[in-house]
């Protein structure tokens, strides 16, 4: 069984899925989608993912298809609970905490981060102006969120407790952007416990492999 992951390897949401599949030791194949030419909004792709977003995963022999990266990672982490890294926790309480911090990432972390990505990366690539006030206000929001993280990570090695889980994994793609392409690594480095957590989770072999899968730009 090979899982097909539709989406360019450089995009954050497919990366979230790839990191999970690698942690679980599940074979997959990337089917690239050309976001720059709007392939994701064309009828062929909309038939797979009606919102026109990446990723979507497919297991052809099973007739199985799923979209929304956080739903996909929950599915594979549950289905293959006994294989690879345990990403969900072993008790109902641990699972609830994983879900809690996954929701925090989806709402409190991702929203301001994505607003910054739009302004600093997406709009310029489309020839549109950057609104620096929007960048500033979202940076301030993200700072407040990271203050809470820092307090929490002072008492917990990982977000859901003492074990690496989907909650931490879900932060990998966005935070990678934050510390590299967005040039905001100070937000992480200035916070002792956030920094230690980031150093730990970003050095995992599965995450390093995801980054290797991103095609290098042509010279």
């Amino acid at each position: 069984m090979v899982v097909k992951v539709y989406g360019p390897a450089r995009a954050a949401c497919p990366q979230r899925v790839m990191a999970c599949l690698l942690e679980k030791g599940i074979d997959f194949q990337i089917v690239s989608v050309d976001l720059d030419s709007g392939e994701q909004k064309k009828p062929d792709f909309l038939a797979l993912q009606p919102f026109g977003q990446v990723p979507v995963v497919e297991e052809e022999e099973e007739g199985f298809r799923l979209f929304e990266s956080r739903a996909i990672i929950r599915y594979y982490a549950t289905k293959h609970a006994d294989q690879g890294t345990d990403l969900l926790g072993s008790t109902l309480k641990e699972q609830a905490l994983v879900n809690q911090w996954l929701e925090v990432e989806a709402h409190n972390y991702n929203e301001p981060l994505f607003a910054i990505v739009l302004q600093l990366l997406v709009f310029p690539s489309m020839g549109l102006p950057t609104d620096s006030a929007v960048v500033k206000s979202n940076e301030a929001r993200l700072s407040q969120v990271l203050d809470v993280y820092d307090q929490h990570l002072a008492k917990n090695k990982y977000l859901a407790g003492q074990f690496f889980s989907l909650a931490d994994l879900s932060h990998l793609p966005g935070t990678q952007h934050l510390v590299t392409t967005l040039g905001m690594s100070h937000l992480v480095k200035e916070r002792q416990h956030v920094n230690a957590w980031w150093e730990d989770i970003s050095s995992r072999p599965a995450w390093k492999k995801v980054l290797q899968l991103v095609p290098k730009p042509l010279e």
Binding site: P50, F51, F64, L66, F67, E68, S69, R70, A71, R74, Y75, T78, K79, L92, K93, Q95, A96, L97, N99, Q100, L102, E103, V104, A106, H107, N108, E111, V145, V148, Q151, H152
Partner: protein, 225 residues
């Protein structure tokens, strides 16, 4: 004796209402502990101790203290649904995958524009805050596109994840309730045939009607069913 389940937050908050709907669907007893947001109670140290981001709701039972409404709902269903009973998260992994997919669609595609519109159109006037016409127009356009996808899906399927009412449908109730009943934008839903059919069905559930009643109750009180 006080019920072991406590929910902290005002019933009129959409996220709090999401949790109330789940508890009532699951036929569980609980106490609703009011949080006076107009007085900034949610930013005070006592509340930050149970929700460090200063947002409602928070949830406690004898085993755990939790926040984030959709995480709370998942916990309620996993912990309190009888084994072997078809519940809000389905019976097995494959069924649950489809429910999780539409729950994430609600969280990522439906919630942002609908929340913005609820705030601008239903809450800002009450709070005497200035509305932002650009923001309203942008989010109305976004929500329309999302509801077009829902219209297609609900033409093929009775509920979002399949033939049964699930957490994926429930999660939409609070924002949609405000938009349809407290703003002049009801047509976003009612003009779409399948979306309207689905809305009539999910909002007609006894548990949701009880939540709406709780939202309209002026005095904060402990409540149990």
């Amino acid at each position: 004796m006080a019920a072991p389940i406590k929910v902290f937050g005002p019933a009129m908050s959409t996220a709090t209402a999401r949790v109330l709907a789940c508890l009532l669907e699951s036929q569980l007893q609980f106490d609703l502990v009011p949080v006076d947001m107009s007085k900034g109670q949610h930013k005070k140290p006592e509340f930050l101790g149970i929700q460090p981001f200063g947002q409602v709701p928070a949830f406690q039972d004898e085993h755990i203290s939790l926040f984030e409404s959709r995480a709370i709902c998942r916990y309620i269903v996993d912990k309190y649904t009888e084994k072997g009973k078809r519940g809000l998260l389905g019976m097995e992994t494959l069924e649950r995958a489809s429910i999780e997919q539409w729950l994430e669609a609600e969280s990522q595609s439906f919630n942002p524009p609908s929340s913005a519109l609820v705030f601008q159109l239903a809450f800002a006037p009450r709070m005497k805050l200035k509305q932002d016409p650009n923001l309203i127009a942008q989010n109305e356009a976004k929500l329309s596109k999302v509801l077009d996808v829902y219209e297609q899906r609900l033409g093929d399927s009775r509920f979002l994840a399949g033939d049964e009412f699930t957490l994926a449908d429930l999660s939409h109730l609070p924002n949609a309730q405000y938009l349809i009943n407290a703003t002049d934008r009801a047509a976003l839903f009612t003009s779409r045939k399948n979306v309207n059919r689905w809305w009539e069905e999910i909002s007609g559930r006894t548990s949701w009607k009880k939540v709406v009643e709780m939202q309209q109750t002026p005095l904060p009180s402990s409540s149990s069913t």
